[in-house]
Structure formats: structure tokens, C-alpha cells
């Protein structure tokens, strides 16, 4: 019974999506909505397949995935480092936290033009936007998770003669794992946002560039939607990758 219930709840999102798509398709056809305003799902699907077949999608996908991967890993690693340092040291926290909060309150995306100015319209600026936008959620969630480890566990480590480094490795980081990964989940989807916006600021390829091309020079609305679909797939994949890391580093395997 419970198993069936679970199956049902798993299928619900699929059913809802199918219903929405059907309504969209029928609505667009019935009201004869022009294709350049809102193409039907079937039109988008065909355009999506075409874009893959003629190599357009792949050409724009590769730079975006590169930016998301390099920027996300860089930002995640830096965020982890900053979070651990601030989580361990009250003094560092008091000195750096206000700047961290101030920086987080500044829309990173607004820094985009500055980064392009400094780093040029190539890969570097986009990687920098991705890194900056992922750094903060990872840093903040790591800081909190590392700082708030159960006092009893830390006392145990001290009673066993653990050094500060051993305490971090054997107690704080494993205990903070859930919090850190929660930050990484948020960061994964933000990294995609960073890449797209970075590409809007300039560049010759990328899913963000393709959005501009489809909307502006090509006036190809089905391609615009196919591109949106592709961006969503990248975002969901990045999120899924974090879930995968969560699973393979799960406590049960330790």
C-alpha cells in the first residue's frame, strides 16, 4: 500500500507536466496564437531536435557547461575554504563576516560588466561570475554548519587528544556535510544563472548568447524556447550532480 502510494506520488509530477503540455498545445492551436509569440510544445520539440541535429545546440552548450563546471567548482572550493576558516575562528568571523554579508547583498550580476571590463569578453569573465555567485551560498552554509557542530562531539574529540586539524577532519566536516551540501544545491542552480547572465554581457557562444541570437537577429521564437529547455536541463543536471555527490558521500558508506 505504502509502496503504491509512493509510486503514485512519484508519478504525479510527470502527470501534471503532461497535462500542462497538453493544455498548452491545445490552447495555442485553438486560439491560433502566432508562433513568434508562443510556439506550441510540439513545435519547440521539433526545433530542439533540429538544433541538436545541425550542431547549433552543442556549439552553444559546450561553453556554458564549461563555465558552469569550472566556475562552480572554483566558487564551491573557495566558498568551502572561506566557510571552514570562518566557522573555526571566531576572530576571523568577526572581522570578515560583515564584508561577506555586504558582498552577498550586492547583486553579483551587477558586477558582471566590471568583470567583463577587467577580464575581457572570453571565458574568464563568465567563470568569474559563476564562481562569485556560487561562493556565497557555499561559504555561508559551510560557516554555519562547521561552527554549530554539537559541543559534546567536540568535547569527545578533545578527550581523545584530537588536534584542531583532526577535529575538523574527523568530526566537524562529517557533521557539517548536510549543511555544506544544502548550500551546494543552491549554488548549483545559481551557477547556471551566472553563466547565462555572463554570456549576455558579451561573447560569441553559449546558451545565453543563443538566447540573444534567437530573440534578436534570428527572430526564431521556437529556438528561443528550445534554448530555454536546454538551459533547464543544464540546471537540473547540475542539481542532480550535487544529489549524486550527496549519495556517494552518505554516512552509510563511511
Amino acid at each position: 500500500m505504502r509502496c503504491r502510494m509512493r509510486r503514485l506520488t512519484q508519478l504525479t509530477p510527470v502527470a501534471v507536466a503532461a497535462l500542462l503540455l497538453a493544455a498548452w498545445e491545445l490552447g495555442v492551436r485553438a486560439a491560433s496564437v502566432p508562433q513568434f509569440v508562443l510556439p506550441a510544445p510540439s513545435t519547440i520539440a521539433v526545433r530542439f531536435a533540429e538544433a541538436w541535429a545541425d550542431g547549433t545546440m552543442l556549439r552553444h552548450l559546450v561553453p556554458t557547461v564549461t563555465e558552469v563546471t569550472v566556475g562552480g567548482l572554483l566558487g564551491g572550493a573557495l566558498g568551502l575554504l572561506i566557510g571552514v576558516t570562518l566557522g573555526l575562528s571566531g576572530a576571523a568571523r568577526r572581522v570578515v563576516s560583515p564584508y561577506l554579508v555586504a558582498a552577498q547583498s550586492t547583486p553579483i550580476l551587477a558586477l558582471g560588466p566590471v568583470l567583463v571590463l577587467w577580464l575581457g569578453p572570453g571565458l574568464a569573465a563568465k567563470v568569474a561570475v559563476c564562481a562569485l555567485i556560487t561562493l556565497f551560498p557555499v561559504a555561508i552554509s559551510t560557516l554555519v554548519a562547521v561552527r554549530d557542530v554539537d559541543a559534546g562531539t567536540l568535547e569527545l574529540m578533545r578527550s581523545l587528544g584530537a588536534t584542531r586539524w583532526q577535529s575538523l577532519r574527523y568530526a566537524r566536516l562529517p557533521a557539517a556535510r548536510g549543511g555544506i551540501l544544502a548550500g551546494a544545491r543552491v549554488a548549483a542552480t545559481l551557477a547556471v544563472v551566472g553563466a547565462i547572465v555572463g554570456e549576455w554581457l558579451g561573447g560569441s557562444a553559449g546558451l545565453g548568447v543563443l538566447l540573444n541570437l534567437a530573440r534578436g537577429s534570428l527572430f526564431d521564437t521556437p529556438l528561443l524556447f528550445a534554448d530555454l529547455l536546454q538551459i533547464a536541463i543544464v540546471g537540473v543536471s547540475a542539481y542532480g550532480l550535487v544529489l549524486f555527490v550527496e549519495r556517494i558521500t552518505s554516512w552509510k558508506t563511511a
Binding site: L156, G161, A162
Partner: protein, 260 residues
Amino acid sequence: MRAGPARDDALMPILLVDGLSHSYGKRQVLRSISLEIGAGESVALLGPNGSGKSTLLRLVAGLLTPTAGHVALAGSAAAAGRPEVGILFQESRLLPWRTVLRNVTLPLELAGESLPRARTTAEAALNSVGAGQLLERNPTEISGGERGRAALARALVRKPALLLLDEPFAALDAITRARLDDELPELVAGAATLLVTHDISEALLVADRVLMLGADGAIHLEVPGLRGLPSAGRRAALLSPDGAARQTRLHEALDAVSHA
């Protein structure tokens, strides 16, 4: 198994507490405590809540620095993490991201021992406390009594000369707790023990000497415990007229110091 309290005057005491006082800010919790524990001897410290029992254990373990006085372990000053000392806290404090076996290997890993060797030692420690069947289990999946045994194995794995027990089984149900209290003197494998508790029968069963710590932070009374008896006879002795008389004395003293 060892027989009787081993208070050999020729031996240096494993623990020497001398004029120990401690305050948290303005609140003084321990007042000039002096105490000696010989090798293999077991002492229980009874006292009402807030009398500083747990504080005393933390001072001995080197987890706190005393306001005044001195703690010597096997002749040298107390410090956190000394391998001569094992601690069993009120909660098992097993790390949920490690299996039971890897929880017990932890003290050895921290000391730099290789994992294969640590595993062998930890397995033996788990077997000796009757938890050999738990090796690959997760601490979140086992019972409270099993967690207690696993934590005991972890405390004993470095073969400490002194085991500190901070109301170790307080969170367990009465039956499990009674069983562990019955077994404890044999399970600690010859280590001297310092137990703090507010359970009078637990103190008498587990210790050679039972000390009463008052709310004023000083030691008030000493009553001999029943640990020297063979394990099968201890419960019966607790209920004998002599055992009942010891319980009554401690009850009255606990009452008196609680309301002092």
C-alpha cells in the same frame, strides 16, 4: 578478573587530586577536594545535581583547568587526550557517520595507528564488552544499551589505567542499566574507575569506595562499596541487611547534603 580493591600502598596512586577547587565565574562548584585512587581501584562519587560531579571528571580529564589545586595522573599533571584516561560520557556520543567498529577505532586513528591494526584492537575491545556482533552496524540503528557498550569499548580501546564514567547509563531503561551496572566491574578489565552518579545502588555495585559530594562542593562521607564481591553475589549483597544499611546511610547523607 581481579580480586578485591587493589590498594597497594607501595604503588603510586593512579589519580591524585589535591585541594582542587573550581568556579564558573563567581559560582564555586568544587571546594578543596582531595582524593586518591589506586591502580585498579574503583571509586564512585555520589552527589546531588549541581554539586560539581561532572566538573570534577572534566578537571581530571584535563578538559577544564582548575581554579585552584592540582590533579596528577600517574605522577604527571592532567591534560586532555592522555591515553591513560578513558571517558564514558552521559550520552554515548558515537559518531553517526561511522560504523560501530570505526567509532571504536577512532581513538587509535587519532593516535596515528594504522587502520588494519586499529581494527584488530577495536574488534577485541568490542568483543570484550559483549558487542562483537555490532561491528558493521550504524550507531543510529542499535539500541541504547548497545550504544552504551560500544561507547565503553571506545573508552577502553587505548587500555586506559583510569576510566572516568559520567553517569554513563543514565539515559538507559532500568533493566538495561541494571545489567550494565552488574557487568561493569568485570568489563573495565582492571582499569581504575571514577564514576559519578546520583544512583546509590549503582554506586555501591560498581565501586570499592563511595564518596558523597555535597552541594557545597566538598566531600562529606565515605562508605565501602560492594565491587570486591564476585559478580553473582553483588546484587544479593545490596539487598542484605548490611547492604541495606549502607544504602540507608547514603540516602540520609544525600538528603542532608541536598538540603544543606
